[in-house]
């Protein structure tokens, strides 16, 4: 089943590479959606089914639409999408740093003894049930904090983006 990993890795890398380099913002967003699909595929391949479905639901269903709305609401009044070159000055500096980081991380991974671990077959059948039970017994405090955080973030986002045309 290795072919699935290589195909998905190629899709994910392609999506990420296009998302950081395309000129038109909406095309970047489409590449980002491709990247999200690739990551969801990886989650399904790693037998984290619930997380894969959550990835599709949240990222492609909500975050991508949010970014699309933001792109639409902040279009440049002159009409051109994002100006000429999409990269700022001294882009080679940023690219060089990240290439160095990637090389460093790859070397570190290759050097570690953990890197050759092969996966043990995941034999759990009731992962979702167990996760549900864990979420309300062991991890109930982070769950509640997460709910409060999401509510606060939502209210904060609405307040920040609200039109300030009430002259007080």
């Amino acid at each position: 089943m290795n072919i699935a990993f290589y195909i998905l890795a190629a899709v994910t890398l392609l999506g990420a590479a296009l998302a950081v380099s395309l000129r038109n913002l909406v095309h970047c967003l489409l590449a980002l959606v491709l990247f999200f699909v690739g990551v969801a595929g990886h989650f399904f391949l790693l037998r984290a089914d619930f997380l894969g479905a959550v990835q599709i639901l949240i990222y492609i269903g909500a975050v991508a639409v949010l970014i699309l709305f933001a792109i639409m609401l902040t279009r440049n009044v002159s009409g051109t999408e994002g100006g000429g070159n999409s990269l700022g000055g001294a882009w080679w500096f940023g690219a060089g740093i990240t290439a160095a980081l990637a090389a460093l991380a790859t070397a570190a991974v290759r050097r570690s003894s953990l890197a050759a671990t092969l996966s043990s077959p995941v034999t759990e059948q009731g992962i979702v049930k167990t996760m549900g039970r864990l979420l309300v017994t062991d991890w109930v405090v982070p769950l509640e904090i997460m709910a409060v955080l999401l509510t606060a973030a939502l209210i904060g986002a609405v307040v920040v983006a609200l039109e300030e045309d009430r002259k007080s």
């Binding site: 998302a19 709305f69 990240t98 790859t106 864990l134």
Partner: protein, 103 residues
């Protein structure tokens, strides 16, 4: 699945590096936010990879990844709201134009 752990970790590292490159070099603020999303997803992928290979029956890695996804969604919502608010003020989303703190 007979892919060794190292392949997945390399994939995660390269994805993170690509996201970092985008965050450092792009001019448009929304493109920077998109690159930050790529970095988030690479980190969450790393969590799930480690869970798959080394979990010994515990589901902690998946639960953590779930919380990380929720936090990332909240962060992107607020980030985009901020970009919209800044656009309303500066009429531009070019990160080079947002240099001063004074409005």
């Amino acid at each position: 699945m007979s892919v060794p752990l190292g392949y997945y970790l390399t994939l995660g590292a390269v994805l993170f590096a690509i996201g970092l490159c985008g965050a450092l070099t792009r001019k448009n603020a929304i493109a920077v936010l998109m690159s930050i999303e790529i970095m988030f997803n690479a980190a969450i992928l790393n969590f799930v990879v480690f869970w798959h290979y080394l979990h010994n029956g515990a589901l902690t890695g998946q639960v953590f990844a779930l919380f990380a996804v929720a936090v990332a969604a909240a962060e992107s919502a607020i980030g985009l709201a901020l970009v919209i608010a800044v656009y309303r003020h500066y009429r531009s989303v070019n990160v080079d134009d947002m240099r001063t703190l004074k409005g």
